[in-house]
């Protein structure tokens, strides 16, 4: 290997890269822009002030104590942005996508819910008008409604005026209820106990019990680098996007090799007294330098603007960065070896790259994938790179946690390199 030739080949590639404004923008600005966007979409634990609330509309056709309590509870829920409106307005606004769900509380809901609470009679129906494109939000709203309805109805039936009436009515109608006698007796005992409890002074005008509530509180602790450190979604999104544009850069690099071949430049390179190893090695070298720069610039921005921190090993982070860049550059070389023309190579490799990036968890974390897919994605180098970056940033692990991802990435690089070497067309006519 001729050291000056090797250095000259790398310097030439870097100079060409920097002279191409479009390539530079693609490599440095795009991961920053898209990483910021994805970071905002998947922020992790943020304060409730900045968390986006699900917009819902409430149509109260009942105006009972229970329905008013439900409306108030939904309005005070930190996960929801609730607004009362008419049923026509609710339909129109959900259809337009201005709200995720419209909740219609029908007339008589309070009474019916109170009766159904004890005797299992006919249950009233809450009507949900929902935007079919927002299925995840519908599921969340459904859970929150369950909580607020149970709290409101149970509070009212145990201590409210209407609740007393419901208990009286239920006791009177127990004889004709379709349930076994022993169950009737037990229910009568329970309802009469509630009557005595209310008669003892626990009325709406004094201290009201909270009704049935969730019987536990949750203390959440994010398992990040340190107890005081919050998960920063930008750490993951910038790792993913940095990696994606590293690979996109590798495609450009491959296409440049094919264009060099088309334009006769490869003939000139091959006519010089330099080895094949020097020629291909320099391509991996310059690709690695550019890929490393892309990742460092992206993370530099994330650190300065979005407060991302390398909570783990800095050496490990640099190791994962360089190993990822070597892998990406070798991948580019393989594309150049397999591609016949620049256009053909671009089409196939963009598709392959997007699949690698998507399955590697660069867009969304792999935990949202089905279990079988999570296992399958271990065959993707991108998965190891993303996991390595996560470990070194917000998870805060030490250098030892970076070693396996680094080794696996270098293993992928070696495979790509050997395949490229075997398939590269050396003969120039």
């Amino acid at each position: 290997m001729v050291p000056t030739a090797f250095a000259a080949l790398i310097a030439k590639d870097l100079k060409l890269f920097l002279s191409d404004r479009r390539a530079v923008i693609l490599a440095f600005a795009m991961p920053v822009a898209i990483g910021s966007f994805f970071g905002m979409l998947f922020p992790g634990s943020r304060s409730t002030e900045t968390q986006s609330r699900i917009p819902i509309l409430v149509v109260d056709l009942d105006t009972s104590d229970i329905s008013r309590a439900m409306t108030a509870a939904l309005a005070s829920d930190k996960n929801l942005s609730s607004e009362s409106t008419s049923i026509e307005q609710a339909r129109d606004r959900v259809r337009r996508g201005n709200a995720a769900v419209g909740i219609v509380i029908p007339q008589g809901f309070g009474d019916a819910a109170g009766r159904a609470f004890f005797s299992g009679g006919e249950k009233p129906q809450l009507q949900l008008l929902y935007d079919p494109s927002r299925g995840m939000e519908l599921a969340m709203v459904r859970g929150l409604i369950t909580q607020h309805v149970m709290e409101s109805v149970s509070r009212e039936v145990f201590t409210g005026e209407r609740g007393r009436k419901v208990i009286d009515d239920t006791i009177r109608s127990l004889d004709s209820a379709a349930m076994p006698d022993d169950q009737k007796r037990l229910l009568r005992d329970m309802l009469e106990s509630v009557q005595r409890f209310n008669a003892a002074g626990n009325t709406a005008s004094t201290s009201r019990t909270p009704g049935i509530t969730l019987p536990y509180d949750v203390r959440e602790e994010a398992m990040t680098a340190r107890q005081s450190t919050n998960y920063n979604g930008f750490a993951h999104s910038f790792a993913g996007m940095g990696l994606q544009f590293m690979l996109m850069g590798a495609i450009n690099f491959a296409i440049e090799i094919l264009v060099e071949r088309q334009r006769g430049l490869w003939k000139r390179l091959r006519s010089a007294p330099i080895s094949k190893l020097t020629l291909l090695g320099s391509k991996v070298g310059s690709g690695t330098v550019i890929g490393t720069l892309v990742m460092l610039v992206s993370f530099g921005f994330a650190i300065l603007v979005w407060g991302v921190r390398i909570e783990g090993s800095v050496a490990g982070f640099i190791g994962v960065t360089i190993a990822s860049a070597v892998m990406a550059a070798s991948y580019g070389l393989l594309i150049a070896a397999l591609g016949k023309t620049p256009n053909a190579a671009r089409g196939a490799s963009v598709l392959a790259t997007l699949l690698m990036v998507m399955l590697g968890g660069a867009w969304v974390p792999t935990f949202v994938f089905p279990a079988w897919l999570q296992r399958v994605t271990l065959i993707m180098p991108t998965r190891w790179a993303v996991d390595g970056f996560d470990a070194m940033t917000w998870r805060g692990f030490g250098l030892s946690a970076a070693l396996l991802p680094i080794l696996v990435l270098l293993g992928f690089a070696a495979v790509f390199w050997l395949l490229a070497l075997a398939r590269f067309r050396w003969e120039e006519v």
Partner: protein
Amino acid sequence: MLEVQDLRKSFGTLVAVAGVSFQLEPGRILGLLGPNGAGKTTTVSMIAGLITPDRGDVRIDGQRLSGDTDPLKRRIGLVPQELALYDELTAFDNLRFFGSLYGLTRVELDRAIGTALGIVGLVERARDRVKAFSGGMKRRLNLAAGLLHDPDILLLDEPTVGVDPQSRNAIFDNLDELRRQGKALLYTTHYMEEAERLADRIVIIDHGRVIANDTLAGLTRVGPDVEPKDGRLTLESVFLAMTGRSLRD
């Protein structure tokens, strides 16, 4: 100086070169002529080390050329048919890069770049990007890139394709000068008048074989199958008589 001995090369079932031999001496220009697909470029590629011959040798001063890193390759300069230049780089940066591939030191490189640009008349444009050059200027720079390491043998594969008469004449003057300096030039072309103007000796190949190897005077002696053109024998009429008039696309 350059000795090509029985070169052969096949691509699958296609025999591109089937035993080509010739010699080239210092201070001489050898014109390598042939119809499309005759095997000219494959022959040049084997001499330049871009293709490994199936059989036969390329020798320089008796030494056999072998392998990618053979130091003998430093004695050969290639000027490909394509404009093998980086458009985004300046003329100076292009030449500095190509010169670095031959292990020249910075001082040697600066001197060589100055000399090469001087030969092709582009000293004033050294710091301009190649993409701003005309076709003729690019052709001249293409030639300069092959001269940087001061090779003894220059392989020129159709170096005047697509240039205007002024640039073509400038290139001819450059080649005449290089011949005077004692360089050995192998020149492939489709233009018969170029071969007539430049070549000391002409090799015509067809179907991968040498069918003539003589001086211009020797080739244009009256022969039984050659039709004179405008009352005289030209290289073109000799060439057509030897290779036939059927299209070779």
